[in-house]
């Protein structure tokens, strides 16, 4: 059970699949509390990631993470681009020292928080990344944890991102970035042999 370029690629492809399948749903989530483009943004990003991994097959984990990061940074734009990009860039850095997914995700989560300034409870992807990274570190991540984290954003008042312009009226809606992040974690636990 270890992280390899192959199962990383498998994980990312599975994430890409989910994003593409749920593209419209992600944009729909982004409509009442955002600008309706999260599905399109993420779909553009995962397409670039897949093309990059196809065209230049990385030999090393660090290169793989870096290619993923660069594809996301240069193709997604918006808020999610720099955030997802930073997450994978931090994993790239960390992967020089360790392949432990708990540590990698902790670094990624720290990067997201630093880049966007959001804390847990601000109704952003951080509400998924932080608790689930912790669970990963403890070796106990399950789908119900993912669902709980994602669904937990529904009751929150947004403090960061576009949804924050709504203030209290953001309550009652899932955060789109939390949802797409949920797919990343689901794809992870569904990837055989990676955990």
């Amino acid at each position: 059970m270890a992280l390899t370029v192959d199962n990383l690629t498998e994980w990312i492809n599975s994430f890409a699949q989910k994003v593409n399948d749920q593209k419209d749903y992600l944009s729909e989530l982004d409509t009442p509390i955002g600008d309706g483009d999260h599905g399109n943004n993420m779909a553009r990003g995962v397409k670039a990631v897949q093309e990059s991994l196809e065209n230049k097959k990385p030999a090393e984990l660090t290169d793989a993470f870096k290619q993923i990061a660069m594809a996301l940074i240069s193709k997604v734009g918006g808020a999610s681009g720099p955030l997802y990009g930073t997450a994978f860039l931090e994993m790239a850095k960390k992967s020089k020292d360790t392949t432990d997914l708990g540590e990698l995700f902790a670094a990624a989560n720290a990067g997201i928080k630093k880049r966007g300034g959001a804390q847990v409870g601000d109704k952003t992807m951080v509400d998924v990344w932080e608790p689930l990274s912790d669970q990963l570190a403890q070796g106990s991540l399950a789908q119900e944890d993912i669902d709980k984290a994602v669904n937990g954003t529904r009751g929150l008042v947004a403090k960061k991102g576009r949804a924050s312009y709504l203030g209290d009226r953001s309550v009652g809606h899932l955060d789109p970035g939390a949802m797409s992040s949920g797919y990343l974690f689901t794809a992870l636990i569904e990837t055989e042999g990676i955990l």
Partner: protein
Amino acid sequence: MKKIINDAGNVVPEMVDGLVRSYPQYLRQIPDTEAVMRSDEDSMAGKVGIVSGGGSGHEPAHAGFVGKGMLSGAVCGQVFTSPTPDQIYEAIKQADHGKGVFLVVKNYSGDVMNFDMAKDLAEVDDIQTKTIVVDDDIAVEDSLFTQGKRGVAGTVLMHKVLGAAADQGASLDDLDKLAQAVLPNIKTIGIALHAATVPEVGKPGFELKDDEIEYGVGIHSEPGYKREKIKPSKEMAEELVTQIDKTLNLDSSKKYAVMVNGMGATPLMEQYIFSHDLLNLLNGKDIEPAFMKVGNYMTSIDMAGLSLTVFELKEDKWLDYLNYPVETIAW
């Protein structure tokens, strides 16, 4: 959705291509990007560069304000989506003529983060940059713990002021001071009659009934602060002026610049009628704007509606900057 486009996924590259090829005297495109630069290289020599940009869909912003006396370059993101750091970085590199580059960013999480990352990249090249994050939209409550207010049409006035100062030789630090001084004096508030349709989404960002309007809507269909039955222009103007008054304390002893900005699908006919009502209200307070502009400057694709920007001219120089001649497509 009925639009003059080819492929919803391809609107930005085709739009930028059409724009640049239609106006080569003003613009050139940085190859392999959707960033556009001022063609008139000579006009930038020895001066601080000014780069702005953001999601597309706000045309003529931002590329329409690239030219002598205003912006050095503009980076065009996907529709309503911040451009990416690599493209912003390319524009910064080309805008730098040894004196550094000033970045004008609208206050959206995405823009702030992507411009930040580009800044980091530019630092590696020893290109000095400073940034102003414009947040003129008073429809949103400000707070230390949130993203804060949005950047909207007032950004164009920021471009104008900084562009004029840079053209007259202001240093990066001068521009920074100027931008910081100007910022709190620019306030904008908008009204929507119909939401914008993002090509890739295919339907309006929100639905308004046939007789409904919404106050305080953002330029990406972000929700506003109240919905009402449609009213006469006069009453819409009253609502917007009241909101502006709350933050700027409109006073006949002060000087103001005013911008009435169409959202893309609202004809000038309506913008001029609104201006008539607006000027009546201001005149009622003994205020005659020292500078005024009416038209489409910072649009929201095909949104129907308009925004009102009031800029308190604390210094006479700021008015000179607004009146300073420029060579751009859209100012």
